[in-house]
């Protein structure tokens, strides 16, 4: 207040510094995307990355890689996409429903061992999933679930519940018990109060949970690679691996990057549709109910 000029200068310096830092961070985040997109339009085949690729001559750009990825590979891109959407969609739907119930139980019901159970789930979520691939393989093959839709949907959904259940619980903790009790006095059963009051209030976190439950299976390679053998069940992640390793004798960055671009589109669309909820979910606890 005594020297407002100086304060204004400090404010400006702070703003400039934060902008510079954020711009650098942005470049770091954007560069891989730029690299992938620009490579995907390069002339086939590219065996090595040069400055020539990163700063392309506009006339040298081609959609040949996309043409191949979308229409000429086997199994067809449509098959891969359908499979991935079946796996990821089912896992998101089942995982979301289970996560909602799990969160409800852990947040609003008192039962012996609740805290222990929450810690146990947290502990599980720290466990690297890749370690489970081999034991899972033996379990699922003895159940005859290898190389089936169900064989992947089960572990994918289960994986979603572990983390999302805690996420939903934490969010529900922030919803005052009064609101649920008001619904009970108003004539609802606990189940009714859950579906009519708690679930609508949890849309932000459920959106985030659905997004995470979708992304995991959609991008999973390790489990799919071990569990799926017939190529009519291949997922996109297996397809991108395949296009890189087998179709051409050499590394073909044009095909891989074109594939990556097309594969990421559903996630981008999904994100844009649910953006409102996902961002709400990421700022958990900042929401005043």
């Amino acid at each position: 207040m005594i020297r407002p000029r100086r304060r204004r200068w400090v404010k400006l310096a702070k703003r400039v510094t934060s902008h510079v830092v954020l711009i650098i961070a942005c470049l770091f985040a954007i560069f891989p995307i730029y690299f992938i997109v620009v490579t995907s339009f390069s002339t086939l085949p590219i065996a090595s990355i040069t400055a020539h690729v990163l700063v392309p001559n506009p006339s040298g750009l081609t959609t040949a890689s996309y043409n191949y990825v979308l229409f000429h590979q086997f199994p067809s891109f449509a098959t891969l996409l359908t499979n991935s959407l079946i796996f990821a969609g089912s896992a998101a739907a089942i995982g979301l429903a289970l996560a909602a119930f799990t969160g409800f139980a852990l947040s609003k019901f008192n039962f012996p061992g609740r805290r222990t159970f929450v810690y146990f789930i947290l502990l599980i979520s720290l466990f690297p999933g890749v370690l489970l691939v081999i034991p899972f393989y033996f379990m699922f093959s003895s159940l005859g679930l290898i190389d089936t839709y169900l064989g992947l949907i089960i572990p994918y959904s289960a994986g979603a519940v572990v983390f999302s259940g805690i996420l939903v619980k934490n969010y529900m903790d922030s919803i005052p018990d009064d609101i649920e009790e008001a619904a009970l006095v108003d004539g609802m059963s606990r189940t009714g109060a859950f579906f009519r009051v708690l679930v609508p209030l949890c849309y932000p976190v459920l959106g985030l949970a659905a997004f995470l439950a979708f992304i995991g299976p959609y991008t999973d390679f390790a489990l799919a690679h071990v569990f799926i053998t017939s190529n009519n069940l291949w997922t996109l992640a297996l397809g991108i691996y395949n296009i890189n390793s087998t179709d051409t004798g050499t590394q073909n960055y044009g095909l891989v990057t074109a594939f990556a671009v097309v594969m990421s589109l559903p996630i981008v669309i999904f994100y844009m549709v649910f953006q409102r909820y996902i961002i709400g979910g990421l700022t958990l606890g900042a929401v005043k109910s």
Partner: protein, 386 residues
């Protein structure tokens, strides 16, 4: 419209006793205020009536029905929460309509079958409740867009439309600004006059309790200490806790001893001696006096006690005076005397600190309590202090 009865209700949370053997009968259409400090168990009593907590022992009756085994939704009570507990994702209209959409009523053509309320019936009920509470213009707003007072009205409207057996109100006014609170108090009282339904109102605010309640149930440590009309609670408190909790400004307590003096007894506190009637024995007692029953004047009289003003609190309509009764003894030559502090009400700006004054008690209004806080009903002050 139904009365509610609690029969020997006890509630334990693990080892802690929240409600201790409370029995209370509330008549149909009565406005009962459950008054107690925070943690006294008053909210727990209300939640047991609502069915949100299950009592450890005892019975709850709504009308003639024993409802111990009833879920909250089957008790047909309406509750207004301290936080209002509006559904944040629904408009004010939907908040009010929520209970109606859920409820099933008997069909006109076949009372054994149930039907939903029609859209028109719901609309009529919501609109009339909203008009009654003056919130008709803001029904499409979300709770977050409403002020505290408006939210409180939406919560009340949500209770009214249900046409419940009774209204349970858990400190519904405590989140309001002081200014709105007094008008909300009057509106609530008027609402009860209009509806003539059973209201059970929980509060820690004795002003709210005195102005709203037809009867007050004062609760402390889970025990029901007294249940009576505000007038009776004020004039005949069951014990020292009730006496101190109810009444504003708070009752003045003088802790002293009953000593025998000649043929009778006196109350002795420091240098002060006041004759008492009805004392059967000597020992420690506490006298309780309402500040407004203590007259302060400048002129001496045979029954007056000398005092000095040690503090003045301007309340607006009157002043609260802090007085030291030991001053006269000091003047009489005693060297060190512990102050005997009391409070009284005086006319605004009539007295200031340091004034020498004379104090008279209304002897019949003084209450006696033993060292456990229990009322000693037989004892009163005598007119002439010595």
């Amino acid at each position: 419209m139904t009365g509610i009865a609690l029969q020997n209700i006890t509630k334990r949370f693990k080892e802690e006793v929240a409600v201790d053997d409370v029995s209370l009968a509330i008549a149909d259409g009565e406005f009962v205020v459950i008054l107690g400090a925070s943690g006294s168990g008053k909210s727990t009593i209300l939640r047991i009536i609502a069915g949100l907590e299950v009592q450890t022992s005892g019975h709850v009756y709504i009308g003639d029905m024993l409802v111990d085994e009833y879920e909250p939704r089957d008790r047909n009570l309406a509750m207004v929460f301290q936080s209002y507990a509006l559904y944040p994702h629904l408009s004010a209209y939907e908040n009010i309509a929520f209970g109606l959409r859920v409820r099933r009523i008997p069909r006109e053509d076949d009372p054994n079958r149930l039907r939903k309320y029609t859209r028109e019936e719901i609309d009529a009920k919501v609109t009339s409740a909203a008009q009654m509470l003056g919130i008709a213009g803001m029904l499409q707003k979300r709770p977050s867009e409403l002020s505290g007072g408006q939210r409180q009205r939406v919560a009340l409207a949500r209770a009214i439309v249900r046409d419940p057996e009774a209204f349970l109100l858990d400190e519904p006014l405590s989140n309001l600004d002081a200014k709105i609170r007094s008008s909300a108090r009057i509106e609530l009282k008027n609402l009860h006059q209009r509806l003539r339904q059973t209201f059970i109102f929980v509060t820690h605010d004795q002003t709210e309790a005195m102005t709203l309640g037809e009867r007050l149930a004062i609760v402390n440590h889970g025990r029901l200490l007294q249940c009576d009309t505000p007038e009776r609670v004020l004039s005949h408190p069951a014990n020292q806790y009730v006496a101190s909790f109810v009444g504003s400004p708070e009752m003045v307590f003088l802790e002293g001893n009953v000593e025998s003096a000649g043929a009778g007894f006196v109350f002795a506190k420091g240098p002060v001696r006041i004759p008492v009637r009805g004392a059967g024995r000597t020992g420690p007692v506490t006298i309780g006096l309402r500040p407004w029953d203590i007259q302060v004047g400048r002129a001496s009289s045979p029954s007056a006690v000398g005092a000095r003003v040690t503090g003045v609190e301007r309340l607006g309509s009157s002043d609260q005076l802090f007085l030291d009764l030991s001053s006269s003894a000091m003047a009489a030559g005693a060297s060190t005397v512990a102050p005997v502090a009391i409070r009284a009400l005086g006319r605004s700006y009539e007295f200031s600190i340091g004034d020498a004054v004379y104090v008279e008690f209304d002897p019949d209004r003084a209450l006696f309590f033993d060292d456990q806080g229990a009322r000693l009903e037989s004892m009163t002050l005598s007119t002439r202090p010595t």
